[in-house]
Symmetry: C2
């Protein structure tokens, strides 16, 4: 293999695949990035066997030569050394040449590195994903769906299914659900799919989705999602993202979400976020970051206290309250997590009593729903 490539494109490609590199595998080749040069350009692959990322830097972009392939071939280089080295190279272009025994020469400006590479034949092939179950979705919408649900996945391995976000598709409506059994987030969106395409219980690991979210562009370009029994493959332009799925049956959440409410209020998102953040400062010493709402007509009072630090109180006046007065307590971390991924200026909160889960809804987006379980106060 012998190629030259623009440095900024090389840096970007490594950065794209880098998160799939295994950080603790005992298989040496998995701590590397595979590069393969052919007539299309330079292909980069990394995988930790849970997720895999593949990207192509093409020979030409808009008639500008990006990669020049002087000799086809492939090599695996240590992601740690290679990534650090490439970022620090002094020149505008980088030449990579593989010699005998996987010795790889990297030249840029007057700099020359001789790196020990690994046999690309030992690098695992990424799985083939059948393309009979495919839908398309706007990149920024998929990114948003991930952001608004993945925060609610469980970090505990006791119930593996809860460490993922469950995907379901019906009548062109894609639905994401995640819950760690203390809170639940759902988000839906209409996508481009064949009318008969339908699936459910596709459980994608939360960690994989966070990496995917990082790769997704914040624009309206279309992304193809291929769903198979064991894998999901997401195609974003020249980059492909694979993840294995989580085995098991996701719990039925339909009965958890209340359909009526006894107390409802509309409040400014940022104002409420600021107040709960201030309340949480003196709620830290408690195991569950307990913050209280005292809801009266036209008034929401936020309070917290800690035996060590002291107490906090702040009213938000002149808000729209319907239904009963209520006192309710909750883990402020869960509420703040939810508020941080909401872009709407106002939120609706619907309560059905101080011991029942309450709902956070968006006036301008009925496709988003967040549920939080309160904490019993004695």
């Amino acid at each position: 293999m012998k190629i030259s490539i623009l440095k900024n494109q090389l840096v970007q490609a490594i950065q794209n695949v880098h998160k799939a590199v295994s950080s603790k595998s005992t298989i040496p080749v998995l701590s590397g990035i595979k590069m393969a040069a052919d007539e299309q350009g330079l292909h980069f692959t990394a995988t930790d066997l849970e997720i895999g990322i593949e990207t192509l830097v093409p020979t030409l972009i808009d008639d500008e030569e990006i990669v020049q392939v002087k000799e086809a071939g492939a090599i695996v280089l240590s992601a740690r050394f290679f990534g650090e080295i490439v970022r620090k190279l002094p020149g505008k272009t980088v030449e990579i040449e593989v010699k005998q025994n996987y010795l790889t020469i990297i030249r840029s400006g007057k700099t020359e590195y001789n790196l020990h590479g690994l046999d690309h034949e030992e690098f695992p092939r990424l799985p083939q994903v059948a393309d009979n179950q495919v839908f398309s979705v706007q990149s920024d919408i998929l990114k948003d769906m991930i952001r608004q649900t993945s925060l609610a996945v469980s970090t505990e391995e006791i119930r593996p299914v809860l460490t993922g976000v469950v995907f379901a598709l019906k009548n062109g409506n894609l639905k994401f659900v995640a819950t760690d059994s203390h809170r639940l987030a759902t988000r839906e969106s209409i996508v481009e799919a064949p009318p008969e395409l339908e699936f459910a219980n596709v459980i994608v690991p939360g960690k994989a989705l966070n990496e995917l979210g990082r790769l997704l562009a914040d624009d309206d370009s279309l992304v193809d999602v291929l769903v198979s029994e064991n894998q999901v493959l997401v195609k974003m332009g020249l980059t492909k993202f694979y993840t294995r799925l989580i085995d098991g049956q996701y719990p039925d959440i339909s009965r958890i979400i209340p359909s009526t409410f006894k107390t409802g209020l509309t409040v400014n998102t940022k104002e409420l976020q600021g107040s709960i953040e201030r309340a949480s400062l003196v709620a830290k010493e408690n195991d569950n970051n307990l913050v209280r709402f005292n809801i009266k007509h036209n008034r929401l009072e936020i309070t917290s206290n800690s035996p060590d630090a002291g107490k906090y109180s702040e009213p938000i006046d002149e808000i729209e309250v319907t239904g009963d007065e209520l006192v309710i307590a909750f883990n402020s971390k869960y509420f703040l997590d939810a508020l941080r991924v909401i872009d709407s200026p106002d939120i609706l909160i619907e309560f059905t009593g101080s011991m029942s889960p309450f709902l956070i809804k968006l006036p301008d987006n009925p496709r988003y729903l967040h549920l939080i379980l309160p904490v019993r106060i004695y």
Copy 2:
């Protein structure tokens, strides 16, 4: 005590004294910040008994009311809670009122905190420093002197004197020296001092100097430095910084610094820094980050290698070399530390053989000197 203060001034004052708060003291009051209100304004003090910082927020700045003292008094509040709370307060002004049992009410906008305070009488008084040994120096120069020497202090407690920077003053010339016995940094500057004022062996802890460096403004305002037997006090406008000194006799370094050299070269600072950084990427696996210089006439070649990763080489051509050819190896971390605090476009390096310490000098500032011990190569 009852006062009101502009929030941004309160945040700034807490930030100024915060680094002197003890993070692991068993004396509760030392984890707090003392506030005292009098006719001057609001005084803030923090100390961990090693260093102490005191700052005053005056009642007026340029005729604008900053602090309004409604009732004089004092209180100690937990630095952790108080600092976090103040940053998040919603209003432009903050009202602080101390009630019975040190209960302290903090109000801003509609927010109200009730914090448990501590008795200010239990807070240690900062030491009195005699003002018979005083000199004045520009704030930015003192900051620079600290930056260029403190990097060479030892982090090992075996020889406590080496964990400090030693100050000496003679004929109005202030000199800082630091060494960890692998490298040595010195920096001198003319300061404003009485002609007869002279001292030596004033060993200031490196950690304290780094905190002082953070507080020093990057401008030409004058700073007063009071030197006593056990303490140094630095007065910067309304802020005072105290530190205890390190007991003991600093080693005589005068014989360590070579006065002649056999090989000399002038090289561009950034170009050399870039090359040593690139070299150090594959020198990491070695215990001592070994990088080699191969100096020929008009040419400096920088190389490194690691059994795991591979090797690096890069020439810097057309440089000015005088004297003998030379091969020398050194710990690249020490060289990079020195280069990072040099602002001059070029440096001079003077060698006296591959086993002797070499010097880094600045063509435009004879008052700076850095010495590095080479590593033996077999």
